[in-house]
């Protein structure tokens, strides 16, 4: 059978070759530059040098391999290299500090759970054992004092947001999420307090539960729910433990994700003492489109739902 001519494939269908970034060191020393190592001429490398080059490129190649499949580099650079308004100062680190405190609590909590027994008859002894294990007292102390640090940082972060007016449009939803996170943090502090099951935590939890019960109509039932019965009993400790290390942390992690997404999406505000820069030339367009108008107000209002650009002071988006 006579062979038919191969059909011509249209250019548009052919995928472009995958373009790898120029590998550093692969092309030898560029022209016009002195070789870095005078002992070896450019382009003539020993086997050891080649091996070294391969080794140097390996992490970049691996990262490139992952990024070709994740396409995450754009998101990551957008998040990590986003612009911030003029006047950003140390007060703006309180949110990150709170996140760090939460991570400390999560990590130390996971390891404390390896030793802790949520049983009314064994909890106290297991805590005593934790303090005897090498470094146990340190990890226990980090968790115990870190809890107070986290509560304090949450309130400082909240104060910064309030006094800088950063809760205003379009960030109201992030304020609401933040208040929910505050409540969840308090719930963590409350449920964690019972776990050592010593006299102080036992009576403090009883007082706390009874305060909760003074809420009209639902309070008494909430008490029975918290205690898993009419009195603080064996199930109460297991219940507090489950709330403390499964229920609330999951909710906190999810809400921190939403919180940080909105921070990156909306950008941060300038401090209230930084004045807005007026555009140098009076723009003949509608004022809402006049670009960054300072004080962190967004130049949003795009009908097409384009991402809201949160940089104040006329900084243009990347």
């Amino acid at each position: 059978m006579p062979s038919l001519p191969k059909p011509k494939i249209p250019d548009a269908v052919v995928p472009p070759p995958l373009r790898k970034p120029a590998k550093p060191g692969s092309g030898g020393t560029p022209k016009g530059q002195a070789p870095t190592d005078l002992k070896t001429a450019p382009g003539r490398k020993t086997a050891g040098d080649k091996l070294l080059d391969v080794g140097k490129e390996a992490p970049i190649d691996a990262l490139g391999w992952v990024d070709q499949r994740l396409a995450a580099s754009g998101f990551l650079t957008g998040m990590l290299f986003r612009k911030v308004p003029k006047g950003t100062n140390w007060f703006y680190t309180l949110g990150s500090a709170t996140l760090f405190a939460f991570i400390v609590q999560a990590v130390t909590g996971v390891f404390l759970a390896m030793y802790y027994t949520p049983s009314a008859t064994q909890a106290y002894a297991s805590i005593a054992h934790i303090n005897e294990v090498p470094l146990g007292q340190l990890v226990h102390g980090m968790h115990k004092w870190g809890a107070s640090v986290m509560v304090i940082l949450v309130f400082l972060h909240m104060g910064r947001t309030f006094f800088f007016g950063a809760y205003k449009y379009p960030r109201e939803l992030n304020w609401v999420i933040g208040v929910t996170l505050l409540i969840l943090t308090m719930l963590m502090a409350f449920t964690g307090y019972l776990l050592p099951f010593d006299q102080r935590s036992f009576w403090a939890s009883i007082v706390g539960i009874n305060i909760n019960g003074t809420g009209p109509v639902v309070g008494p039932y909430l008490n029975d729910f918290l205690r898993a019965g009419p009195e603080l009993g064996a199930t109460t400790l297991a219940r507090f433990y489950a709330i403390h290390m499964l229920l609330v942390p999951g909710a906190i992690i999810a809400l921190i994700g939403a919180h940080m997404y909105l921070v990156v999406k909306l950008g941060t505000t300038a401090p209230p003492w930084v004045k807005a820069e007026r555009p140098k030339v009076a723009a003949p367009v509608a004022p809402l489109d006049a670009g960054g108008n300072g004080n962190g107000r967004v130049n949003g209002h795009h009908a097409d739902g384009a991402p809201v650009d949160g940089e104040g002071n006329g900084a243009s988006s990347a």
């Binding site: 009209p216 109509v217 008494p220 898993a228």
Partner: protein, 224 residues
């Protein structure tokens, strides 16, 4: 039909205002709900039912203790001859089982006194749980009062509040005599007029409208 849609929709010559939304695929004249809508609603409804089938039992399991009442528990605390009318004797007994010493509670027990207007021949067992926030109160013999160490609540000999933040008299326990032994049973609360009501948690008022604002919990026992 597709031709109709193209005719109306596809041509740029039609002025913008006259553009009509094209008929969805499978549309026929007179239908009230498109096939797509039916499947959207149905799949969401089935998904919702499946989610409810998982979530509702789990939530019900978590809140079940609200509606569960445990077994009535009676414990002997000493012969009748141990108790007198004019002062209390402190007894310790288990109120909650399974948690060792943490499940024990203290009651102050005496015989009822006709001088105080009480029915004769009864045993009175007053709980040491403060009606403010649940701290343990102590009977001070010299004063004849119950005094709370936490926030300064003071109760008289019968357990009625006479000072401090508590919202009602001290709780009491049901009592009975079996074979010469005094036994204490379930806890109950009292109103300011010393009428027994179902047990309330500390901090909750009793009597009058408060019986509705702090409703009795199904997990507690009926008062005597």
């Amino acid at each position: 039909m597709a031709d109709d849609a193209n005719k109306v929709n596809g041509a740029d010559e039609a002025p913008i205002k006259e553009r009509v939304k094209p008929d969805p695929p499978g549309y026929f004249e007179g239908e009230s709900m498109t096939r797509r809508n039916v499947f959207t609603v149905a799949s969401q409804a089935i998904g919702g039912i499946a989610a409810a089938g998982i979530v509702l039992p789990a939530v019900g399991f978590a809140v079940a203790p609200i509606f569960h009442r445990g077994k009535e528990r009676w414990e002997a605390v000493g012969p009748v001859s141990d108790f007198v009318e004019d002062t209390y004797r402190q007894v310790v007994f288990t109120e909650t089982e399974g948690i060792g010493d943490a499940g024990k509670t203290t009651a102050y027990v005496r015989r009822s006194s006709e001088d105080l207007g009480e029915e004769a021949g009864k045993i009175v067992a007053v709980s040491n749980r403060c009606a403010h926030l649940g701290c343990p109160v102590r009977f001070v013999e010299a004063a004849g009062n119950f005094i709370c160490p936490c926030h300064g609540g003071v109760y008289d000999f019968q357990g009625k509040r006479i000072g401090g933040p508590p919202v009602r008299p001290l709780d009491q326990f049901q009592t009975r005599v079996r074979q010469g032994q005094v036994e204490v049973g379930p806890r109950y609360s009292v109103t300011n007029q010393m009428e027994p009501v179902r047990a309330r948690d500390p901090g909750e008022f009793t009597g009058g409208i408060w019986e509705y604002l702090y409703p009795p919990r199904p997990s507690t026992f009926p008062p005597p």
